[in-house]
């Protein structure tokens, strides 16, 4: 018995070692045999599809010229990537390009290891879609190049909608419309008449922007460092009231975990909800997943009744350039960032992932190709983006503690869902958020 166990152990160990050997050290093997200038790109998209796409672009770029050689590496989550870059900079060996998520913008800015990409020579940014570029412009300078951008849209289980007696192309415009439709569906005993979306503060941020409201003071942190989080404004209370109603009427379905994208998508895919809200980046996947089980419709993100639609904040990530590198590296880094987001690459990026192509020329080309006529769902997403009014609200907030804010807001929303008082939950959230922001600002 004992010998058998020993043999088993040894077999297992050697199997593990041998079979994993093939994948050793795949990263950072720069073919720097010649004296080309090295450019490293750290990003947060570790899955095979997206990192594969990036690697393909890297190879193309490397083949297209012989001044620079680019390497790419996925560094884990957005947070990890930014943290790794900051640590690497302290160690005197920063990557050239770093992929930073939107709520990390202020952190990245404050860390002092980056420089505005707009400062590296002259290049044209007119082609980038205005609301997208808007987010990444700080102090009037283009700080980073938008890369993967998305916004939330409404996904509709059209079969349930029709069963509830609505026309198939009905799209609820407001919170009230949406709740009304669910109630009608429930009266008609439509199964799974629920609203599902991940409990994620991203939606809260979006709904603030749609109402033209600032999430933080000082013009959303763009005029001066933000010192207050506007969680008790009328706009915030409207969102709170919506959550309250969802909870009271028991029509909201989620997995209970914060920011559980997959879990809430599963609810919709499994036919357990009639309306679902999630990122435009999931259009392709979800459409494919529900094919054959039900018809899916897409509409603009519903907003509080009586509000003018300002549009959504662009979410996702952008590419930043670190400052502690040579002039030549800086130029190479910029060139690669521009190459990565050129017209054709943005088209294939969009087709692969559902992220917006962030250039007007890409959109035009897609339109010519007939991409939108074939897939009207994508058009809804685009219109939502293109009709966004460029102002400080839709430019999105800047603040050092936006990440903490997300948790604070999610906790407040959960409290409200569980029956808590809207105003006191929001007031408490505001107090905590302000205290954390003050604590962060005290670093300067």
């Amino acid at each position: 018995m004992k010998k058998l166990l020993l043999v088993l152990t040894i077999v297992f160990c050697s199997l593990a070692v041998v079979s994993a050997n093939g994948t050793t050290e795949e990263s950072a093997v720069a073919a720097a045999a010649d004296d080309r200038i090295e450019i490293t790109f750290w990003h947060a998209l570790g899955d095979a599809a997206r990192s594969g796409w990036i690697q393909d672009r890297v190879d193309e770029f490397n083949a297209s010229q012989d001044t620079y050689v680019v390497t790419q590496e996925a560094k884990g989550s957005y947070r990890d990537t930014l943290q790794a870059a900051i640590l690497a900079d302290k160690q005197g060996n920063p990557p050239s390009l770093v992929h930073v998520f939107e709520v990390g913008s202020q952190l990245a800015y404050d860390s002092g290891i980056f420089m505005p990409i707009g400062d590296i020579g002259n290049f044209d940014t007119d082609d980038y879609i205005a609301p997208v570029l808007n987010y990444y412009t700080i102090d009037g300078k283009v700080n980073s190049i938008p890369f993967n951008s998305s916004s939330p849209v409404l996904y509709i289980n059209t079969d349930k909608l029709v069963e509830a007696g609505f026309p198939a192309d009905y799209v609820p415009d407001t919170f009230d419309d949406m709740i009304g439709a669910i109630e009608t569906a429930r009266e008609r005993n439509v199964e799974g008449a629920n609203i599902s979306f991940a409990l994620h503060a991203w939606y809260f941020e979006q709904w603030m922007a749609e109402q033209g409201a600032m999430l933080v003071n000082n013009d959303n942190g763009r005029e001066a460092r933000a010192t207050e989080v506007n969680l008790t404004s009328d706009a915030a209370v409207k969102i709170g009231n919506f959550m309250k109603e969802l909870g009271e009427k028991d029509i909201y379905s989620y997995t209970g975990r914060f920011e559980d994208w997959d879990g809430s998508d599963a609810i919709f895919k499994g036919g357990q909800s009639m309306f679902h809200i999630t990122s435009t980046a999931d259009l392709g996947n979800i459409a494919k997943a529900v094919e054959g089980s039900f018809t899916m419709g897409v509409g603009k993100l519903p907003i509080p009744a009586g509000e003018m639609r300002n549009g959504t904040v662009i979410g996702g990530g952008s590419i930043w350039v670190t400052k502690n590198q040579s002039e030549a590296q800086l130029e190479g880094a910029r060139d690669f960032a521009l190459f990565l987001t050129n017209t054709d690459n943005m088209i294939s990026w969009h087709k692969l992932t559902g992220y917006y192509p962030v250039r007007n020329s890409s959109v035009d080309k897609l339109r010519e190709e007939g991409w939108f006529t074939g897939d009207a769902k994508q058009l809804v997403a685009f219109n939502q983006l293109l009709t966004t009014i460029s102002n400080s609200a839709t430019a999105g907030a800047l603040g050092g503690t936006l990440l903490d804010n997300r948790t604070i807001i999610e906790q407040a929303m959960q409290k409200i869902l569980q029956g808590g008082d809207v105003m006191s939950a929001l007031q408490e959230a505001k107090d905590i958020a302000d205290a954390k922001l003050a604590e962060y600002n005290a670093n300067f």
Binding site: L6, T9, A16, S19, T23, D47, T81, L87, D262, D265
Partner: protein
């Protein structure tokens, strides 16, 4: 005492065994089922295990994670055994001043589990080292900076396996256990060894270690499982998935892809439990004997 045990003892034991074993059996069955059945209540084994295995092992990096974990566990467990053998050898068979002070110094570290130190340890391990020796020495000889300010220079081991091996090579538990065991060895043995002209190292390798197989086994088991189970430290210090350990890697498998592929996730958990289970089965006897020895005598 040969009282015949009534049926209820069996009932209790069977019920308890069921509840304790069910989750693992469940995971095992689910790892073999095909996609359409995994999320149903069906508990009939399927034939998908090897397909799931292939996917998690290659596409989701499980092979890599397991290899890293094995590598780390073997290094740390053996390091802990060797270093504690040496230290407790000195603590028991040598006569020197400050012995109890040193023992106290070692045992008091039991009060500081890794988790409690993560902030300080993180800075120490991930901060970059000083760029020159002069700089380092200047820092070290400035007591205010060195002792009373947050750590300035570190080892620069962030994101590397060294960062999860080296800080854990010593073990207070090991020293404690070996010391306990060594004290149970008759002193006469040491005396006669010395008279026979054996030096202390020969005494350790030829006499003490062969007599300590059970304690070594017990410690190997405890430490292997301890290192294999480590979670928070690798989670913080390792960023590249190529260097990640299996416990944290599991979480990434859960989060990979569009929706959770539970069959594959269960397959990964089943595989990840095999190495510690094998080590446990292998060393269980030694562990029981080693424990009985150290607690009885």
């Amino acid at each position: 005492m040969n009282r015949k045990e009534p049926v209820w003892v069996h009932i209790i034991l069977i019920t308890a065994s069921f509840f304790i074993c069910f989750p693992l059996i469940f995971a095992l069955i689910k790892s073999t089922q095909q996609l359409s059945v995994v999320t149903s209540a069906s508990l009939i084994p399927g034939k998908e295990f090897f397909n799931n295995f292939k996917v998690v092992w290659n596409d989701y990096n499980l092979g890599r994670y397991i290899r890293n974990s094995l590598w780390i566990s073997v290094w740390v467990a053996s390091g802990k055994i060797v270093l504690s053998l040496l230290a407790s050898h000195a603590l028991v068979f040598y006569r020197f001043r400050g012995k109890s002070l040193i023992f106290g110094f070692i045992v008091i570290t039991l009060m500081f589990p890794t988790e409690i130190l993560i902030l300080g340890l993180f800075e120490l391990v991930s901060n970059q080292g000083a760029s020159s020796l002069v700089q380092l020495i200047q820092w070290m000889f400035n007591p205010v900076e060195f002792f009373f300010a947050p750590t300035k220079y570190g080892f620069g081991w962030g994101d590397s396996t060294i960062g999860i091996i080296v800080p854990f090579l010593a073990s207070a538990t090991g020293v404690f256990l070996f010391r306990q065991h060594f004290l149970s060895i008759p002193k006469a043995l040491a005396d006669s060894a010395r008279i026979d002209g054996a030096n202390s190292f020969q005494f350790l390798t030829r006499i003490i270690i062969p007599m300590s197989k059970n304690t070594i086994g017990a410690l190997a088991l405890i430490q292997f499982v301890y290192v294999w189970d480590q979670y928070i430290w690798p989670r913080i210090i390792i960023r590249r998935s190529a260097n990640q350990v299996v416990q944290v890697g599991l979480n990434m498998i859960v989060a990979t892809g569009e929706s959770v592929q539970w069959g594959q996730v269960m397959c990964a958990t089943v595989i990840a439990i095999v190495p510690p289970l094998l080590v446990f089965a292998l060393l269980y006897r030694a562990f029981m004997n080693g424990y009985a020895l150290s607690s009885d005598k």
